[in-house]
Amino acid sequence: MKGFLTRVTAITVKEAAHILRDPRVMIFALVLPVLLLLLFGYAISFDVDHIPLVVVDQDQTNASRNLVESFTSGDLFEIKARRSTVDQVEPLFRSGLARAALVIPEEFTRRLAGGREPSVQLLLDGSDNNTATVALGYAGVVALEVSRRQMPTSLSREGAPISAQIRTFFNPGLRSSAFIVPGLTAVILTMIATMLTALTVSREIEQGSMEQLFTTPVSRLEIVVGKVCPYFLLGLVAVLLVLTAGVAMFSVPVAGSLWLLFGVSALFLLAMFIQGLFISVATRRQALASQLAFITTMLPALLLSGFVFPIDNMPWPLQFLARALPPSYFIHAIRAVLLRGNGVEAILRDSLAILLFFGVFLLLTVRRFRRALN
């Protein structure tokens, strides 16, 4: 046991020296994750606001102006132009200057006063369906609100429509950053961790030092463990940086225990490092290893992790694949702790799944390593 520790420590110290002396590794491990988080965090947003709006007010009364005011009081719509006829709207849509148009017909005030159903028209650019859907929903809410205000009080007493009092838990503003940042953290850690270790063994094989290493009493397991250790420490610092940046820059709520979050992140890092080492041992070439590491992490972490697309809606082969890979469990766990404030019991299943992946790949790596020179 003492020999085991001595040899693992020797590999760890050596590997740490490689890391500390190569500024590229430090930048890759510590600067890049935060940079990616900021970049993607600001770029990827499902929040829709400031939809460019054309107003066609053919009524030109106080009531119509109030209606326009109701539409634009929030951040959702922003008036870009005013036109007098509906025909003038389409060119604006075509040129992309506007994505929505509010058309208030001439008889709006008269119908309102006369108690006949007043109607307004909302024209939407459907080419961006996400924006259109949000605009549609918002317009419905505004119209309902306005009509309730306008309705004679007598009427509203008796036959007022049922109003749903909606309250959203865990992310009251339904801001997508609270949803995206945890997912993004998982994607970034997956990629960085795997790429970091994917090069370590293939580099030594290419440089020739592995041959010398294999003639010393060090075992394959000792090499693997010794190589993971310093990267693990580096990875923990990266996790800390990314989480801090996520919480600080995107005001992601931290509902649960930070220690728990850190713990599950550490476990996930181990799984990703061992995946990288496996790639390194299996490919034995740095160029191939880095490409493979990129492909096998970026795509699953983005598409098969539940980060963007819910796993339950996927066809079953993809569901199977998604559930075989750790990012799906990590994203589930990180959201559970960060947003819902869940405790250990809620993420136990996720943790065990990640641990299982780690164990299987540790075994595969050591087995595969054995034939490295033949």
Partner: protein
């Protein structure tokens, strides 16, 4: 995990084999192409053995099998009684290996590289320090101990690699083309170092494509296309060489070299200064000499004593070029 794990091999230390290295009929082929065929090799402690042969002769493959890096397809071998088929920790402790190519960590200093291998071989702190400072002083690397390996000259690098292989005081030191890319002065130093350790009882096996180096070994094995053509002390091999060597001085060397090479019995031609050495089959030697004297381009032809290189070149063409002698 147990460093004192004993090898199940009945011939382990103190058993019937006293040889440091004992290879019996070892073979290895790479996807059908034989690299080493039926290699038998024995090496005693205090012996310096040179495995010589042209590039691709199988020297590195033989060495990799010996060091447990490559499992033989057939045959068996032991180093200090430990099987090379299932390389144990004890086998690795017994061997110090210096690969042909760059194998240390360029971004680590001399000190750090030595410490790294010292730890892997489980040397206690005090022992590590003592051996390190001894090696650093005899290799004269002491003043550069904090210099990174990638900033060392070829000769200094080799000395460091040698020190890393020697740190755990192996019973067998294996060097794959140790003087490759080393200047003559450093080469001389490396040889002096080797003799020092051999005198202390270490067994050394090295490979080399250079015949002058082979001649410095106690015993050499001539390897060609995976087979050991001949083996023995360099001087004995020269004595047992059956063919003749001539030194020719000729005019217009470029025009007539091919012509000379095509003469019956000519095994090899090699340049020596402005002259040519010709290794000629013994039965055809007299005829060759006559033929050469009869031509105007020959300024002079005289028989000379064969060198080790002549013997090797002759052997490549004629495996029977060494006279079999009982007990040699």
């Amino acid at each position: 995990m147990n460093a004192s794990r004993t090898d199940p091999d009945p011939t382990a230390d103190g058993g019937q084999t006293a040889h440091v290295v004992d290879l019996r009929g070892v073979c290895h082929s790479f996807s059908g192409t034989p690299a080493v065929t039926d290699l038998d090799l024995q090496l005693e402690s205090g012996e310096l053995y040179g495995l010589v042969g042209p590039d691709g002769a199988g020297k590195s493959t033989a060495i990799r099998m010996l060091t447990g890096l490559l499992a033989p397809d057939r045959g068996e071998g032991w180093v200090c009684g430990h099987s090379i088929r299932r390389p144990s920790r004890a086998l690795r402790q017994a061997i110090g290996y210096m690969p042909q190519q760059y194998s240390l960590y360029g971004d680590l200093s001399i000190d750090e590289n030595l410490d790294f291998f010292g730890h892997l071989f489980g040397l206690p702190r005090q022992q590590r320090r003592e051996r390190k400072s001894r090696l650093l002083s005899i290799t004269r690397l002491e003043p550069f101990r904090s210099r990174r390996a990638c900033d060392l000259s070829g000769g200094m690098y080799k000395k460091l690699a040698l020190s890393c292989a020697l740190l755990h005081q192996p019973r067998l030191l294996v060097l794959d083309e140790p003087t490759n890319g080393v200047d003559p002065v450093s080469r001389r130093e490396l040889w002096d170092l080797l003799y020092e350790f051999v005198d202390e009882g270490m067994a050394v096996l090295l490979s080399s494509p250079y015949m002058d180096e082979a001649a410095r070994c106690h015993r050499v094995g001539l390897l060609d296309r995976g087979r050991l053509l001949a083996e023995g002390e360099p001087t004995r091999l020269i004595e047992r060489f059956v063919h003749r060597t001539f030194l020719l001085r000729i005019t217009g060397r470029h025009q007539v070299e091919d012509l000379i090479g095509a003469q019956p019995g000519v095994l090899a031609l090699s340049p020596e200064g402005g002259d040519i050495r010709a290794v000629v089959r013994q039965p055809e030697a007299a005829g060759f000499r006559q033929w050469a004297t009869s031509h105007a381009f020959t300024v002079r032809i005289e028989p000379v004593a064969p060198t080790f290189e002549d013997v090797f070149l002759g052997l490549l063409k004629d495996p029977a070029a060494i006279e079999e002698r009982g007990g040699a």
